[in-house]
Structure formats: C-alpha cells, structure tokens
C-alpha cells in the first residue's frame, strides 16, 4: 500500500470516527498509538507518565474529533493534543526533575548514533532540567526532524515562539554538556 493510499484510508477512518464510529477510531488509535508513545516518552522521560499522556490524548481526541475541520490534519492535531497532555502530565508530577533514571539501550543503529554513557548521562540530566515546552521542541526537531516553522504549525504557536524555545533549549543543553565536562572546582575533583 503506498503513502497516498494510506492517507486516503486514514482520512476515511477519521471521517467515520467523526460521525461516531468507534471501530474506526479504534483502528486510528492502534495505528497512531506507537508514534504517540514514542513522542510522549521522549518528552516526559518516563514510560508510566507517557502512557497516561497518550491515554488522555486518545480520550480527548475521541470527544473533540467532530470539531476537527480538516481530516487530513488528524496526525498533526493528535500530536498537538499529545504535547498538551504531556505538559499537563509534567505539571501534575512536579518531581520530574528529580529521580534521574537512565533508560536501557538496545544498541546504536549506526556509528554516527553512538553515545557514550557519559554523553547519555549528561544529555539526560540536561534534558530533565528543561521546561516541557522546550523539551517538546527538541523532540520534534531532533526526533521527528521537523523545522521550527513546521513545529509551530503543528503545535499552533507562532513561528517566532518556536524558534525562541528551540534557541533556549539548545543553549541550555549545550550549557549542560559543557558544564558537566568541566572539573567540579568546589568538590576539588572531576564531577564524575
């Protein structure tokens, strides 16, 4: 099945679900569920919270679906709901900056994707310090490969805001990596 046919099938399902067809919505939920989970887990850095965010997204999507004006934008709309649910989940669980846990690694896909344990640890700590909106910008940029303009369109925010959030997020991540690379002067020795 080619991409155009996939899109047409998706559109048909969305239109059916908009008219109350629960079976159609169930297919959509199963089709898009893995991608939603991948995004939420990368923003929230916690499987349980990501699952809660996805479940909430699907429930809101069902209820609000008749209001979606363009069925072709279902995927982008769903991701917008997910980001909002992730923000809410982050606000609800205030302890998300603490309790750092490194996720298991299945192995790098290519030499260019290799991360040392030190790198991963620094990135993890730096990322967890970011506010949710900056986390979302990094995930949409570096995981989904979208430009700030595309992200702005998808999340319904001004392009300038998207660029600003990305700038701050990059700056914070760079600072986190660079600070962690320096010896800890106060402790009198290497930080790691």
């Amino acid at each position: 099945m080619d991409a155009a046919e996939d899109d047409r099938l998706d559109r048909d399902l969305v239109e059916q679900a908009q008219h109350g067809d629960r079976e159609a919505f169930a297919i959509l939920a199963r089709t898009h569920g893995d991608r939603l989970m991948a995004i939420a887990q990368r923003i929230l850095r916690d499987v349980g919270r990501a699952e809660d965010a996805v479940q909430q997204t699907l429930e809101i999507a069902w209820r609000e679906l008749p209001r979606l004006r363009d069925p072709d934008r279902f995927d982008a709309w769903l991701q917008r709901l997910l980001v909002n649910a992730s923000y809410a989940e982050a606000r609800r669980s205030r302890a998300w900056n603490a309790n750092v846990r490194i996720l298991p690694v299945d192995g790098p896909a290519s030499p260019d994707e290799t991360l040392s344990i030190d790198d991963r640890d620094r990135l993890e700590r730096g990322f967890r310090r970011l506010p949710p909106d900056q986390r979302a910008m990094l995930v949409f940029t570096h995981y989904l490969g979208l430009t700030p303009t595309e992200i702005a369109d998808r999340l319904g925010i001004p392009a300038g805001t998207a660029r600003s959030r990305l700038h701050y997020a990059h700056r914070a991540m760079r600072a986190a990596i660079d600070v962690d690379e320096r010896p800890a002067a106060v402790a009198g020795g290497p930080s790691r």
């Binding site: 109350g20 629960r22 919505f25 939920a29 199963r30 569920g33 989970m37 887990q41 990368r42 499987v47 990501a50 699952e51 809660d52 996805v54 479940q55 909430q56 699907l58 429930e59 809101i60 069902w62 209820r63 609000e64 679906l65 008749p66 209001r67 004006r69 917008r80 709901l81 909002n84 809410a88 609800r92 205030r94 302890a95 900056n97 603490a98 996720l103 690694v105 790098p108 260019d112 994707e113 991360l115 790198d119 991963r120 990135l123 700590r125 990322f127 310090r129 506010p131 900056q134 990094l138 940029t141 570096h142 319904g156 925010i157 701050y168 990059h170 914070a172 760079r174 990596i177 660079d178």
Partner: protein
C-alpha cells in the same frame, strides 16, 4: 564549547533511544473509556446558503436581520440590568449553596467569551470543561486574562515545587481539579490561588464546585526564579521563560459549591 553540529549529532543519537511501542492495555483502557463517552458536536455547522433557492436566501437574510436588530434593541432598552448584576434564579441541577470568594456573588458566573479578535481559530471558546481547557496549546493566546468558569472537583494533592519562583503562589500550582465525575486517568487542571483571595481548596475536597479564574495573572509579569530545590540541578531558566510559565498558570478567583 560544543558546536551546533556536535550538539545536533548528540541530540539525534539521544532521541534514537527510548520506548517505541504503546502497550495494548493503554489503548484498551482508552477505548473502554470512550465506549461511554459521547462526542462533542461540531459547532461550525456546514454552510448551506449557496444551495438554497434565491427566495429562501432572501427570507433567511431578512429573518437574521430582524433578529439582530430586535436583539440589539432589546439589550439596549432603558432599565436593562447590566451583566453580572442581580439576575435570575439559578438552575435546579447545579445551584450554588455556599460562596467562598474574594468577590462574593449569589449566582455562579457563566462561561465568559474571549476578548474579541484575540483567539486563534482552533481555540475552544469558551472552554466547556477542564478537558477542553487543557487541550488548548496556548491558553494565554486563546483567553488572555479573561475570566473563565468551569465545573470541577478538587482533589487532595501534594505538589512539590522543584523551582522556587517569586511570587511563590504562582510557581507550581496550589491544587488539582478534575472534571465533575472524572477518573484518575482523566484530565486534570493544576490551579493556583492568590493567598490574598482567602480561597482554600481544602474546604472543597471531593465536592463539586464551579470555579472562576483566569490565565495571565498580572502578577506573572513580575515572576522570577528565586532558587531551586536540592533535587534540581542546573542554572536558572531565562527570565522571559519564567514569566511565560507564570502566565500559563490558571489562577482561581472564585469558588462556588454546587448542589449534588
């Protein structure tokens, strides 16, 4: 100093790792929930004017015009009470019994529309419930600081704030509200209360209430990060980001208990 290219490479590799599968039980739980959840009807009904006969079009336009002029005359007639003044008896299903507010009122306020011309097209205006409210990507852009009214049920919660912000009450939220009849997996709204308002949600735990509040509280303009808990490392976030976070906090200004 890590250059942009190296940072891009590191972040690209960082996000390769992670969970890529959603457990079936999550989808099953969501589908189970929607089995008894009605959909919200679309408010933008299809526009059928072009397919109507000319006579019907003229008649429809005339009726609309008469209703508009008549409505305007009715509202502007001398002696009409102003909005928010003494009003009709509350409805039977959700009449207020106790008011604990900074601005006492005998009638729960109705949902308030957005300021004209400030809302993006996708804003749900006014938000009919908590789920619709938290679904807004940018509530400040949607609603500004217009008062919004929602039915909710406050739940007991301990909110630990890792980043200390001045004013403290705008930092992380004071209470958590669920929709009336909502489950623990449903949407929740984190709200803030200005101590000067005298409102305490501990008086309303697990009761059904009608709240009024707003985003973009004036106090948000002076928000600044004042410190971090020991569990949080890192440098303070930029001042603009702190202010933006504070502006997105929902500040409750009025609570009215609803009768069961």
């Amino acid at each position: 100093m890590t250059d942009q290219r190296e940072l891009d490479r590191l972040l690209g590799a960082f996000f390769v790792e992670g969970t890529d599968e959603l457990a079936d039980r999550v989808i099953d739980a969501a589908l189970d929930h929607i089995d008894h959840t009605p959909q919200r009807r679309a408010m933008n009904a299809p526009w059928r004017f072009q397919t109507m006969p000319m006579l019907t079009r003229v008649a429809a336009a005339a009726v609309i015009g008469v209703l508009a002029v008549g409505g305007a005359l009715f509202l502007l007639r001398p002696g009409t009470p102003t909005v928010g003044g003494p009003s009709a008896t509350p409805g039977a299903s959700s009449s207020p019994t106790v008011a604990a507010t900074s601005t006492p009122s005998t009638t729960p306020p109705s949902p308030t529309p957005l300021p004209t011309g400030t809302s993006p097209a996708d804003c749900v205006n006014p938000p009919p419930d908590i789920a619709a409210l938290i679904a807004q990507t940018d509530p400040v852009a949607c609603y500004g600081n217009a008062p919004l009214t929602l039915d909710a049920s406050p739940i007991a919660a301990q909110i630990d704030c890792p980043v200390i912000v001045e004013p403290v009450w705008l930092a992380c939220g004071t209470s958590i509200l669920r929709p009336v009849g909502g489950s623990k997996f449903g949407p929740e709204l984190v709200v803030n209360v200005d101590p000067k308002s005298g409102i305490s949600f501990s008086d309303y735990l697990n009761k059904n209430v009608r709240i009024t509040g707003h985003f973009d509280d004036p106090a948000a303009r002076t928000c600044r990060e004042a410190g971090r808990s020991p569990a949080v490392e890192g440098t303070p976030e930029p001042a603009a980001a702190t202010i933006e976070s504070c502006r997105r906090q929902f500040v409750v200004t009025q609570v009215v208990t609803l009768k069961p």
